[in-house]
């Protein structure tokens, strides 16, 4: 465990693989990695807000997924995020759902 950034274990989800060198490697480029996570949380929240959910980074190693009433789950990576989000919100989160897409499209005109 790195005492500076609080990372215990590694994340092996495919989306955590190197998109840019260093972005998701644990031992180098810590700042890049943090920046990437912050960007992920920001984008995920745009999506999750449509379902009354929000995501925050937890110690640079996991995420906290919460409902508006405070029900919270820890999720490890994007692979776990969506099943947890469906469980917490009690509905299917479908990225192909036209009304949902209209909402996403409204973000960027």
């Amino acid at each position: 465990m790195c005492s500076l950034c609080g990372i215990l274990g590694g994340n092996e989800h495919w989306a955590d693989a190197v998109a840019r060198p260093g972005a998701y490697t644990r031992n180098v480029e810590r700042i890049d990695r943090r920046r990437e996570r912050a960007g992920r949380v920001r984008i995920a929240n745009r999506v999750l807000s449509a379902f009354g959910l929000s995501l925050t980074d937890w110690q640079g190693s996991s995420y906290l997924l919460s409902t508006r009433t405070g029900k919270t789950e820890i999720v490890e990576d994007l692979g776990h995020l969506w099943p947890a989000a469906e469980r917490l919100s009690g509905r299917a989160l479908d990225p192909l759902d036209p009304p949902f897409l209209e909402r996403m499209e409204a973000y960027h005109g």
């Binding site: 092996e12 495919w14 989306a15 955590d16 693989a17 190197v18 998109a19 840019r20 990437e36 960007g39 992920r40 984008i43 995920a44 745009r46 999506v47 994007l78 692979g79 995020l81 969506w82 099943p83 469906e86 299917a92 989160l93 479908d94 990225p95 192909l96 036209p98 897409l101 996403m104 499209e105 973000y107 960027h108 005109g109």
Partner: protein
């Protein structure tokens, strides 16, 4: 005493194919190859009588029989246990030090759970890696099976290599039609006839999904519905003119596969990721995506991203619209760069 080095990640091949399509015959042939003397074999039996088992000549201590039915729901745990057991025995020297595992799945199974077991089991994922999936397809009955049984289509769609069996007793026109059918939902897997000399190395080791060589992105022919029974399965290529925001892509793809993974038989793509000089190749099977690969060059002058989807009953336009909406959320957007066409 020098022992052959055991690979850090033991490759696991899956042989799948419909009932009676010649999986065991193929396995038997492959195992006769001296190069495979250090292979452990797992057989998944269907039904109480292990016919396949009795047909196999090579049974040794490293063979574990998975006892019941279909891999989809009930056997996954068994498969994980069997592989863990093999691993443990190898470490303790109770079985010969195998360097490869071959799993023969039941003819009625969707082969996906085998791959998912390798990826998701907390122990197995550090010791085993999915190697090629080999699908046997019966040249005599294959067309009818593809039309009638969804499992058969899934088995062919997931394949890295397709072996056509019984071509010696099939009409040539049937073989041609079958090949055309298969190409519509598996555009790039090599199709070899079992009557050819089958190099074990070629089947089990290649084509490597880690390399860019032969990356397929040809336009899919029109009228790509299979038949009226299986017409919901189609492949299409999504071509993207802007760079891709990797973070947004990860969120989009995971959300898409979470909800529709059972209907997205395969995803394979070459992505022009914002901030990267060279493309990133992705390869997914249903709910599972392999670790993306950084390629060291572009396969052609075309710098656009291309993603091949093989889907069952999903409207291609909707996937495209969804992708664009998500990519627009990325850090690099809305100023995502236009990339040059060839």
């Amino acid at each position: 005493m020098a022992e052959p080095a055991i690979p850090a990640m033991t490759p696991v091949n899956l042989i799948t194919g419909f009932l009676g399509s010649g999986k065991t015959t193929l396995l038997k042939r492959l195992l006769a190859d001296p190069a495979l003397h250090d292979t452990a074999v797992l057989i998944n039996e269907f039904g109480e009588v292990g016919l396949d088992h009795h047909l196999l000549e090579r049974l040794d201590d490293t063979m574990v029989l998975l006892q019941s039915g279909c891999l989809c729901c009930t056997i996954r745990g068994d498969l994980a246990d069997a592989l863990r057991d093999l691993l443990s025995k190898r470490e303790r020297g109770l079985v010969p030090p195998f360097r490869r595992v071959v799993i023969e799945s039941t003819g009625l199974a969707d082969p996906f759970p085998v791959l998912s077991t390798l990826k998701s089991d907390p122990v197995l994922r550090h010791h085993f890696k999915a190697a090629t999936v080999i699908t046997t397809l019966d040249a005599v009955n294959g067309i009818r099976q593809l039309e009638t049984y969804g499992e058969s289509v899934r088995q062919a769609a997931i394949a890295d290599v397709i072996v056509l069996t019984k071509t010696d007793i099939a009409e040539e026109s049937d073989v041609l039609r079958l090949t055309e059918d298969v190409r519509r939902f598996n555009p790039d897997a090599p199709i070899v006839a079992a009557s050819e000399t089958l190099g074990a190395d070629r089947l089990l080791n290649g084509p490597a999904r880690e390399t860019a060589g032969g990356f397929y992105c040809e336009p899919v022919p029109d009228g790509n519905a299979l038949s009226q029974h299986a017409s919901s399965i189609q492949s299409f290529v999504m071509t993207i003119d802007t760079t891709i925001d990797w973070t947004a892509f990860g969120i989009w793809m995971t959300m898409l596969l979470n909800r529709h993974g059972d209907r997205i038989l395969r995803v394979k793509g070459i992505l022009n990721v914002e901030g990267e000089a060279f493309p990133v190749a992705i390869h997914g099977v249903q709910y599972l995506v392999h670790v993306p690969v950084h390629m060291t060059s572009w396969p052609s002058a075309d710098r656009r991203s291309r993603i091949v989807f093989i889907v069952d009953g999903i409207e291609p336009a909707l996937i495209e619209r969804s992708f664009v909406a998500f990519n627009g959320l990325g850090v690099s957007s809305p100023a995502a760069r236009q990339v040059e066409e060839a």
